[in-house]
Structures are given as C-alpha cells and as structure tokens.
Symmetry: C2
Subunit: 212 residues, 2 copies
DNA sequence: CAGCATCCGCTTTGATACTG
DNA sequence: CAGTATCAAAGCGGATGCTG
C-alpha cells in the first residue's frame, strides 16, 4: 500500500494493514492459528492467489507473520502470526462488534463457522461470572463451534469434550444468537434446539449496540 | 468497495469502511467534530478531492455521516457523524494503540496536533484515579492539545482554560510522551519543558505494548 | 498437490484543472 | 466553498502456467 505519509498512529497502522485482504488474512490466522498457504486460500474465498502471495510478503516484511519451514518429512510451510500480529486482535474484535449487525445482510455470501468466533467474543458476556465454567457446543450445517463461558466468553472452532449444552439449528438463527439479535431465552422460538443444560446457554448476555 | 461477500462481521465492516481514506475521514470527524468539506481536505493531506467526494457519498448512504445544510445566511454545509459513525471510535482507538509505535518512522510526514488525541486516549491512563481532575496543556509548534485526567484520560484540541501543567517542546518529544516511549519523569531529559504542577504530568501512565 | 509467478482486462486511485 | 471532469498510473480479479 502506498503510504498516507501522515504522522498519525491510525494512518501508520493502515499503511501496514489497510490494504484489501490484509486484515482478513490476519483474521484467519487469529481464528485458526498457524495455516498453510492453501488453508488461507480456503478461508479467504474470493482472493486471487497472486494477491495472497503479495500480502503475505508485505505482512512478513512488516513483522506481522512468519513462515515456519515445515518439520520434515512433510515439507509444508506454516504461516503464523508474530506477537505483533497477535496484537491486532483488539482491532479485529472492535471491527467485528461494529460489523455484526451487518451480518443480517449476508444472503448468498460465503460462510465459515470460525468467522463467528469474533462477534461471539466481542459481543457475548457472562451473566453469572464466578459460577464456574460452562461449555456450549454450537452445531451448524457442517461446522462446529465451542463457547467456554467462565467470567469471559471464549470461542473456538471444533467440538467440545463434554459440553454442558449443545445448540443446533439453521445458521441464520445461530448468527442471531451469537450477535445478540435474539436472546438465549428466545432460542427455541427462533428454530434452535438446545440439548443438555439450557441454563448454560442462558448465561450468555449479548452487549451489542442496537444500531442496525 | 467491492464486497468481500463473506458472512463475517469483520468482512462486512470492511465492506463499509475498508476503502482507502474512509477510516481517516472518520478519524477527522471524530477528532474535530462536524467539519466542512474543505476542513476535511485540510485534515487529509494527500487525498484527491474527487475521492473525498466519493467517499462522503458512500459513507452517507451507509448511514455513517450526514450533511447538515448550513444555517442561513452563510451557506456552509456541515458534515458530521451519525451515532453509527461515532460507534467506530473503539475501532480507531484500537488501531491507534497498535499503530502508535510506528510513529517513530514518520519523518517528513504531514503532522497535525489533533491526530495525537487517538494514541493519547488509547495509551495513557490515570495513575491516581480518584485524586480529582488534572488538566494538562500540550504545546507544539503551532497547535494546542489539552488532556483532562480524571480516572480516564480525555484528549482534545485547543487550549485549556486553567491548566494545572503546560508541557511544551519539539513535536518528536511530545509524541514520545503521548505514546509511552518516554515516561513523564523523563520528560525534561527528552527536551520537554513542564510549567506549573509537574505532578499533574506524572499522573500519566503509558500502557503501551512494547512491540516496536 | 502446495506455492507460487505471469499475463490481461477492468476498476480504483492520484494529480490536476475547471465550475456554480 | 464545494465540489465535477479528465486522464494516466496503480491496484485488483480471474485465468492459467510453472516448479518442487
């Protein structure tokens, strides 16, 4: 990216991560950890492969990602965030919080479950901190999400080992739940099935701004 | 901006504010309040006037800015943020926090004092909350900044009415102070002059990540 | 197959000039 | 003051080809 040439912290940040796709590459690495080149291509539908290569070079010289030459015998190189790259998490959480209401306008868009971890962590809080740990598994078409609620809410992909509750249903309804458009108490009416201890789900409070 | 077409809160946010210059326009409106078109041109050195017009149209249709047809007799139209636009402040603060270390590499860049309000608010905290209010005026070449410290730190442009302390010096040293690269106690050694009650300045603590 | 590089048509941006 | 008009240059998206 051409520099803004402004002595402004925001402009300087955008000089580094303001290019098209850059923040979404960082989103992938934050949500999924170290990735192969092709994992990134899968997680960034629409990107041109030459652009991914370009951006990775930029981010590497900016000290945001590193390439680990894969452990032998399989020669896969893993791309991972440096501490400086991990430090961008608050930026992506703030963007997710602001952008979550716009998920309502995502008809026909590509969709991947791990993308939901950001609005989930940015918006959901624990109604009963200090009440121990609650684990909730979220199931949609073909992907799995796990919420761990214990004072804070942590979201990750993959199945929970022994969830207190399992929520499943159509993706749209799950999005509504994770972004605060419906309350956990309205889950059943929205077409969601809650298995196990429904109290675990009711510990979730959505602190979304009601903008859109 | 061409949409990413991804059902991701971050991608949706970037569909709206991810274009070049968009977040910097919002920066200007957050830092300075309602602006005229030419104020924005001044505050965004390097932008082409057709791009500013384009972006303002986009942001207007996205519900982020509005145009107030100026009160007669003077026909100036004021551009201001909607509540949805104001809601982007946490995004810009997070970017400023991350980007502040890069201010060290801003030689020869354009520089305006009000740009410093973001890293100041994102990085500085009050060492002695509950100790009442402290007002600090910051003077650099030709612009003035005021910090109000009272549990939180609030930064704005313009002079303070009755500051407890006045800090002045070369811009580079002030940037070092406001971004946590030097501690208030080292201010004098860095070429800064503190007038009035130096204790007010020592109430500032910088909570910057030491990344760069 | 993973990890690119190259080419090409299209869109966006930047610089400047001009207008109500 | 508040933009529009024009045009060259840069960036992007899509397809395809190359290499270990």
């Amino acid at each position: 990216m051409r520099s803004y040439r402004q002595a402004c912290a925001i402009a300087k940040a955008l000089d580094v991560v303001g290019d098209r796709w850059s923040l979404l590459i960082i989103r992938e690495l934050l949500a999924r950890g170290a990735c192969r080149y092709t994992d990134l291509l899968d997680g960034l539908p629409g990107i041109a492969t030459n652009l991914l290569a370009d951006r990775l070079r930029q981010l590497e010289t900016a000290g945001i990602v590193t390439r680990d030459p894969g452990a032998r015998p399989v020669p896969v190189t893993l791309i991972r965030l440096t501490p400086g790259g991990e430090a961008l998490r608050p930026v992506l959480l703030a963007l997710a919080r602001w952008g979550a209401p716009l998920l309502a306008t995502a008809d026909g868009d590509a969709s991947q479950a791990h993308w939901l971890t950001f609005p989930a962590e940015a918006i959901l809080t624990d109604r009963k901190p200090g009440k121990g740990r609650a684990v909730i598994e979220i199931r949609t078409e073909d992907e799995l999400l796990t919420l761990e609620v214990d004072g804070v809410v942590h979201a990750r992909t993959g199945r929970a080992s022994r969830p207190h509750a399992v929520v499943s249903g159509p993706r749209a309804a799950l999005v509504d739940l994770l972004t605060g458009r419906i309350d956990p108490s309205e889950a059943a009416a929205a077409g969601l099935t809650i298995g196990g201890d429904a109290k675990a789900v009711r510990r979730l409070r959505a602190s979304a701004d009601r903008r859109a």
